[in-house]
Symmetry: C2
Subunit: 341 residues, 2 copies
DNA sequence: CTCGTCCGTCGAAGCGCTTCGACGGACGAG
DNA sequence: CTCGTCCGTCGAAGCGCTTCGACGGACGAG
């Protein structure tokens, strides 16, 4: 179609020759950094299309000192909410593309050395860090490297950083407020696996704090306990919870893999939902929708979009807020209701 | 520590000066493309470490005509097996790093234009294409662009390509053989969502073909039907299946999200597992392990490793087989057994 | 002892882009 | 009509690397 041999790089010089202008003019047409007459512009753009020109990414990065690539540092460890991560990643890629950036996938197990390498080699202009822990070793490194970064979740000390997250504390409060308003006086949080709390992962700790705070404020009894993954483990943890606290009538679940098993197990333990026990989850909305579950959705896409938008503003040298918390909302479905007690 | 201002690029010239050699010598030490004396080599490497040198990725790409980056083109559509995708992605990144390559994340919704852009801008040296359909529009494009690629799954025409996949046909056969050997004469495949078959996705079609082939060969009745996602949908589809075919005693499940609901629903329909109905799944092994499920594991990591290894061989100009099928294995657990009939 | 070979290193060129300074020419002000 | 301004374009330099050819010098063969 274009007549060129596939695989051969079309250069800016080819375009310039084809359009009868200087290479710098082509560059200015493409970047818009200088005014170019309408006729020249359209001639150049026609040549770009005719030749199927794409600027060489490496050459561009070298000359402009911008890679137009951001890194997405993913965790991929036990207890991560996998579908949430995927939807988040999609939103990140899509939004980044809209800002003319690509996304490099980095796994956390390369650790701080990975950040060093990526920053040192100018492979990326900035990073998105997921699954940030309260005391995260990568955070000081980010500061030291002067590498623009946006964190998903937030560490204990967020000075000089940019963090985006659902307001999990508020989400925990919302769940308890909803249950309390329906008359529940004893509630329980069935949370993430113990390892997640041990790592000091922010969302788990903050949710728990929110549940406790709201319970304290509203005069509700609240117990909280971790929950391991897998149907058998969930069932076991739920049974243990109800054995220790048989009078719990409101359940907050923050563990994707537990949602299905919890709803399946409760009837077997003689608890009908929502008549005997109300269940509220903090989880992806589709998951909740499938089961008619009352929930506070985790807005993965929105977090991804916001994170990229913030990073782009940082890359442009604009100031950004240290902490951006997304307001949670509770969607009422079939698994929560009043209590007879 | 290193004494340099953070964010300032350390260049090969800095290293050369520090070590008292020419820049080209540093380059040769790092690439190993010419013999360098042991003393020079160690002096250079010491300087590299002292200065914290990382070669500028763009400059390297420009000069060497290699980006040392591969693209991972992910689907992210309905019916994809999300955890499998994640584990696959991790294996890809890890293996690529071992070959000194990074991974660019591309979503399929950028479509063929994305491949054009990526190839044209020399951002990547090759691509890994996931979720390949039997008639995939990206496949001819790959050929046209002369862009080295490895496909996960395989299209109808694999001429000149490199495809890696679990041998899903054989996996389907294995499941039926296992059930037949245990005495089951009527089996059913509860498969992927209908949309997945409609798209012509290879793994779904091949599994179904394998189930049918083995059933025919062994004189077993086999019915196959798609299964939508979500507990309610799964339950509905399973009930419909058993209503139409009440004498089915062997169930093959190829749908991650259906595994839990199927095991939860069967007892409610009066079928104990494995006494009344044996269940065999094709799914990630952890998922099966959690439920004590007999299964043919989908070896996501192994597929990822193989795919990267093949791509690296292609990038080195070595010949690679058109189709690489991984041999499936059946792991017997608690959900399958003999039948009384 | 001499010559050829080859090992180890160097310098220069070039990869494809961006950006800076310069410079015609059009056009408006006086 | 003249001069100054500014718009639109050009050419050159430079980004940091790899790679090629060249060339000392050591060393072995004769």
């Amino acid at each position: 179609m274009s007549g060129r041999t596939p695989g051969e790089q079309v250069t800016i010089a080819d375009v310039a020759r084809h359009a009868g202008v200087a290479a710098s003019t082509v560059s200015y047409v493409l970047s818009g950094k200088r005014t170019i007459s309408a006729t020249t512009r359209s001639r150049v753009l026609a040549s770009v299309r005719a030749l199927g020109y794409h600027p060489h990414a490496g050459a561009r990065a070298l000359a402009s000192r911008k890679a137009n690539v951001i890194a997405l540092v993913l965790p991929l460890r036990t207890g991560m909410q996998v579908p949430v991560v995927m939807r988040f990643a999609t939103a990140v890629v899509t939004t980044a593309r809209r800002h003319d950036h690509d996304v490099l996938l980095v796994t956390a197990d390369e650790g701080p050395a990975g950040l060093h390498r990526i920053a040192g080699s100018a492979l990326v202009d900035g990073v998105l860090l997921m699954d940030v822990e309260l005391e995260d070793s990568r955070v000081p490194l980010l500061r030291e490297l002067a590498l623009p970064g946006v964190l998903i979740g937030h560490p204990a000390d967020s000075t000089g950083l940019a963090c985006v997250d659902l307001d999990f504390r508020r989400a925990g409060e919302l769940c308890v407020e909803h249950l309390a308003a329906a008359g529940h006086r004893r509630v329980a949080l069935l949370g993430a696996p113990a390892a997640v709390y041990d790592r000091g992962t922010g969302f788990a700790h903050r949710t728990r704090a929110g549940v406790r705070a709201a319970a304290g404020r509203l005069g509700v009894d609240a117990v909280t306990r971790p929950c391991e993954e897998g149907p058998a483990a969930v069932r076991h943890d739920l049974e243990a919870l109800l054995a220790d606290h048989p009078d719990v009538t409101g359940l907050v679940v923050q563990n994707e893999s537990a949602v299905g098993p919890v709803l399946a197990t409760l009837p077997l333990l003689g608890r009908r939902v929502p008549r005997d026990v109300s269940v509220v989850a903090i989880c992806p909305d589709e998951l909740a929708e499938q089961s008619g579950l009352t929930c506070v959705p985790v807005p993965a896409e929105e977090v991804g979009r916001q994170a990229v938008a913030l990073l782009m503003r940082r890359l442009n040298g604009e100031p950004v807020p240290e902490v951006t918390l997304l307001e949670p909302h509770l969607t009422v479905r079939d698994t929560s209701g009043g209590t007879g007690r």
